[in-house]
Symmetry: C3
Subunit: 251 residues, 3 copies
């Protein structure tokens, strides 16, 4: 039974993708007990999963899966595996470790559209839930990517079978993608990308100001990503109209 249920604040149904950059088992237990029902995806950020013991990773993915959450390794790790010509090994080990999702990205490496399409299709064929990501981790390279190119990539990824497409913002959320150097939303860029269908996107929004702006623009069920583990509950309060920034502003 939820506390203060009589207030009638509705649980949000928007997807929340949380960034796990190396949580231990006690922290995961705490997270799931406090906020597990508000998380859809647990991303093991970039290559963090590859610095730990396999048994520990298995224990973590099992906890996430038992809570109804899709755990997946960061796209950077898939990129490193792809560049090394070891994609089959990557899929096999990801499955062995208990990951049920795969992120396909080209944030740190060059990946042609044909390869990208193949990787998405292979991941789907291997039984993974597939999320792709659009954007470059290096700000200069990211700025070179035009809005038209981003739109084209998003559409192609969806056509090739991606369940969702992430708009990249990294852990810091500044000077990248839809955000300017201060982390403010560039409205024209966001509008152009959201026109494809905002319900097919997961918008990385690590900063609270970004979460507030996106919830006020699209409503409480906008899909948000790169949420820090210790901000998941705070985000849920924003979505439910239980924090100052959104009190009285959620339908």
């Amino acid at each position: 039974m939820n506390a203060f249920n009589f207030l009638g604040a509705k649980p949000a149904t928007g997807k929340t993708m949380m960034l796990d950059k190396g949580l231990g088992l006690h922290a995961v237990d705490d997270l799931l007990a406090t906020a597990g029902t508000h998380i859809s995806f647990a991303k093991f950020g970039w290559g963090t999963a590859a610095t730990m013991d396999a048994e520990l990773i298995k224990a973590k993915t099992a906890k996430y899966r038992a809570a109804g959450i899709i755990p997946y390794p960061g796209g950077t790790l898939l990129e490193v595996a792809t560049a090394a010509g070891k994609l089959p090994e990557f899929f096999a080990e990801a499955k062995e470790l208990g990951f049920t999702g795969i992120e396909v990205s080209d944030g740190s490496t060059q990946v042609g559209p044909t390869t990208r399409a193949n990787v998405i299709q292979q991941a789907r064929a291997a039984g993974f839930y597939v999320i792709s990501e659009v954007g470059k981790k290096n700000p200069e390279l990211d700025h070179d990517l035009s809005t038209a190119e981003r739109r084209k990539m998003i559409q192609a990824d969806l056509d090739n079978g991606a369940h969702y497409v992430i708009l990249e913002a990294r852990e810091a959320g500044k000077n990248i993608g839809i955000y300017d150097a201060d982390g403010n939303i560039i409205g024209s860029e966001l509008d152009a990308l959201a026109a494809i269908g905002v319900d097919k996107l997961i918008i990385e929004a690590p900063l609270k100001s970004q979460q507030v702006a996106l919830i006020l623009k699209y409503g409480p069920n906008i899909n948000l990503g790169n949420i820090a583990w210790d901000e998941v509950t705070a985000l849920e309060t924003l979505r439910r109209g239980l924090r100052g920034d959104t009190v009285g502003k959620i339908e």
Copy 2:
């Protein structure tokens, strides 16, 4: 027995109000073992308590109470309940959940002075330790609140039975209340409010620079609030003269 006791650094007696924005039970156990004796109040920030299971909240409040700490739900939640005309239900459930304190605020909603007085008196009558808060969560609305109005509210709250009055600074501590856009103290504003009696105030000071400035100005036992859970020990070192910023500066 305290470690390095021979150094004679005195435990602080000033009140520390910690911001709990969704800690799990392992984290609470860690916090109480490392810093429990330095905490007077555990605020379950804004509406976070209303996103969790009631049994979990009960387990947390029990741990805080056993450590001599007064747990209370954020003022935002009381505001939402008041706006919904459900204040009696709010007090009843807060008690049922094990909260022993109540925060009365109008940071996110409009509350007239008569209603505010009534709420404080009702909370006291219901047996709660009562802390009120002065300040608006929206910076523009907060700037509209004059120093004279703040002083009047603080005095009225104390007259109506509030044990302490909090000076609002939110989690971020910038561009609000006694702080400018960079989080620096606006001396004239602070002095005017502190003239009422700084020992009746709890000054929210989430940033370390603010904690240092307030300790150097008022001494180690100034009452400070919105301290992050993982900064409670660091604050205690500032109060005891055991961190660079205050070494040799604490009587």
Copy 3:
């Protein structure tokens, strides 16, 4: 067995000094399970150890030692003890609490070169692993310290028996030592100090941008300090070329 071992990313051998500013036992267990092998030194920041129960400190140092990590109390605490004329008591209690390292600094107090040399030698004679630190915690005093003076102190500390010398940057990493007010590296200052032998230094680098810059300049095995407990794994991914910033850039 490390996860995703087939990728061949090499574990780093550079020293990582982590800042523990008051972790509880569950958090330490999580940290050691996820990242224990990547940590060489656990610094109990400034005077935090002196705010806790001695038995808790013993339990923590035992866990660190069992993981092959050298735990040591912050230099500030040694400075406070030295100023109080209680250095022998400090060494005795540090040993009793299970610390195997000692940090010798003058960041918060004035310590003459003869005293500094004596303290380092006494700490070595008492069987401690000794790390010294060069730099002032007050930015104005720190700016008064010339590059030549820093070089002289580093060399003297090494001659007197310090195993490593830390370049001070505090927890925030800005406007101090080799960093400007934005936390960017002052190249000329760093080069002049590193000329002594970068393998004898531990460079405090609390900000990710600093870690990236130092790894790209000196390679993955540069010794880095003041790493936040929840950034140890992220740093290891930078060292192994498993995060966007260093993918394809690590030999």
